[in-house]
Amino acid sequence: MTLLSVQNLTTYYQIRRGFVRAVEDVSFSLERGEAMGLAGESGCGKTTVALSLLKILPPNGKIVRGKILLNDLDVVKLSESELREKIRWKAISLIFQGAMNAMNPMYKVEDQIVEAIRLHEKGVTKKEAKDRVAKLFEMVGLEPERAKGYPHEFSGGMRQRAMIAMALACNPSILIADEPSTALDVIVQAQVLKLLDELKRKLNLAIIMISHDLSIISETCDKLAIMYAGRIVEVGDVLSVFKKPLHPYTQGLIAAFPSIYAPKQEMSAIPGSPPNLLNPPKGCRFAPRCNYSMDICLKESPSLIEADKNHFVACHLVHK
């Protein structure tokens, strides 16, 4: 059974000049134990999707349409207290981008995780929670005694591990990792990605990996969704999207990530910049930057269709 099914999720932010259409008609599904990468440039709506899934949008953000079905329970319709009891931390956890600063510097790491556990699971004693912290620390490769330290005593990689431990405290089935390794050095980044991969196998954890870096996603994910200006333009099995990208934007983005082992080459770029989402182009949002743009692209927005087995794309070129 499908663990998470997102259907036509549409999230807007209200600002004085109107609505920023940050996420529009985003649909995807996720199975237990599956890792999906959500890639795109800054401002394409990746993080807004994550915030929508947990309904922790800023006050001016609103889900205007769509469903988020988690085991057939629609998250969009739940009240604040139901979200706290059933969804946040217990079903879906989030690791934020700036893990370095995501912890409160005034409290011991252990106390912060204990607080999270006791807030979301009523009836757990302090002692039980502390034991759980020790187990979690062991699981993420940290010495359990270190939990008694303060965040500043942790290095960058250790903090990221502690954040992962904290996210897993209430046994969620989905872990959203928002740029989990961007601030880390390559070697530490490789260590953290390896840890996530191990946890995924061991706990049968579903992971949504949000990143602008396609090479990280290619190494860790089973599935890849490419977002552009608030829409998913291509989604599918990571191998087929990489080997046979169908959308011109995906092709451009993949070409922008040279492999270290490839012979020295000219790097390619996608000219232009993403549209203003206050007033996005009427047809395909990528059309103004697209080399293959046709008349229809400026008029109609292409819908996501299955072009290959488990490989969906939203482009008029493929629709013909």
């Binding site: 390559v186 602008h212 396609l214 090479s215 290619s218 191998l239 922008a256 990530f257 040279p258």
Partner: protein, 331 residues
């Protein structure tokens, strides 16, 4: 014989650690951050040299020392054969025309109250080029080269009206407007999105190639360095551990640290299977760097006492491929 444009000899920079009042009273010695420790570097005419390493390895400090933006603790810097280590600001000023720098963050390196035209013509004003016609011509030319066209429109814009990529183009244009012989770029594209990154790098490369500028490219991104640099030097805790042509370093790395670094670079190909993360832990504190070889605490091919006690020197393994590791120094 290739011409050496910039030479660093035994360059060292220690930053004193500020202790609290009482600690200063109690402790006799001061603590130092060994940011750069005995770095030797030659940069040839028209060459692109990559300086790579993790954060805290001292690559930015090295760039700033060479530009004489900070004072070295010891060591020497030569620019076109001239010792510039002890020149004061007034003596440096005429040389600044020939050495320029592009910073990482185009959102902070441009004065928000100046127009693009003013930003780019400022270096010329500082260098005493006052002929308005010449200034204008140069500004127009460099804007066109930087693909900020039409230039007559861009000169009146302010930084806030530009995108991140355009800002970095302005910062690059400013560095190249005086046709310098040597340019340092400190992570010039790490703040930019992947789709524009290549554009900016290509712009820098075309400016460097057409002018035969010597270029020091400071980066942590080895995949990009691979496609940009002629030679690469790898730094670890203030020291250069390996240096060679890009192919030598990427395809046949010798130092255990370089090997680990190359293996850790993610490859954008889902059929590529990563072998293993070979080294554990993180870069130690540069305040009290490990004795002997600074990498011995994490080294997978640690050989015992010799690594702990004696510091390996850079040795030439042929074709200018230098490595500092005891595995190779015995031969």
């Amino acid at each position: 014989m290739v011409e050496i444009v910039v030479k660093a000899e035994n360059l060292t920079k220690l930053f004193e650690v500020k202790l609290g009042f009482f600690k200063t009273l109690l402790s006799k010695e001061s603590l130092y951050v060994h940011a750069v420790d005995g770095v030797n570097l030659d940069i040839f005419k028209g060459e692109i040299l990559g300086l790579a390493g993790e954060s805290g390895s001292g690559k930015t400090t090295t760039g700033r020392l060479i530009m004489r933006l900070i004072e070295p603790t010891s060591g020497k810097i030569f620019f076109k054969g001239k010792d510039i280590t002890h020149l004061d600001e007034d003596q440096m000023k005429p040389l600044r025309r020939y050495m320029q720098i592009v910073f990482q963050d185009p959102y902070e390196s441009l004065n928000p109250r100046m127009t693009v035209g003013d930003i780019i013509s400022e270096p010329m004003k500082l260098q005493g080029i006052t002929d308005e016609k010449e200034v204008e011509e140069r500004v127009y030319k460099i804007l066109t080269d930087a693909k900020l066209v039409p230039p007559e429109e861009f000169i009146f814009r302010y930084p806030h009206e530009l995108s991140g990529g355009q800002r970095q183009r302005v910062a690059t244009a400013r560095a190249f407007v005086l046709d310098p012989d040597f340019v340092v770029a400190d992570e010039p594209v790490s703040m930019l999105d992947a789709s524009i990154r290549a554009e900016i790098l290509q712009l820098i490369l075309s400016l460097v190639k057409t002018r035969r500028t010597s270029f020091l490219y400071i980066t942590h991104d080895l995949a990009l360095a691979r496609h940009v640099c002629d030679r690469i030097a790898i730094m670890y805790l203030g020291k250069i551990v390996e240096q060679g042509t890009t192919d030598q370093l990427v395809l046949e790395p010798l130092h255990p640290y370089t090997k680990a670094l190359m293996k850790a670079v993610p490859v954008p190909d889902p059929s590529h299977k990563r072998i293993e993360v070979v080294i554990k832990g993180e870069i130690p504190s540069p305040v009290n760097p490990p004795s002997g070889c600074r990498f011995h605490t994490r080294c997978p091919s640690y050989m015992g006492d010799i690594c702990k006690k004696s510091e390996p020197q850079l040795v030439d393994m042929g074709n200018g491929h230098l490595v500092a590791c005891h595995q190779y120094s015995k031969k």
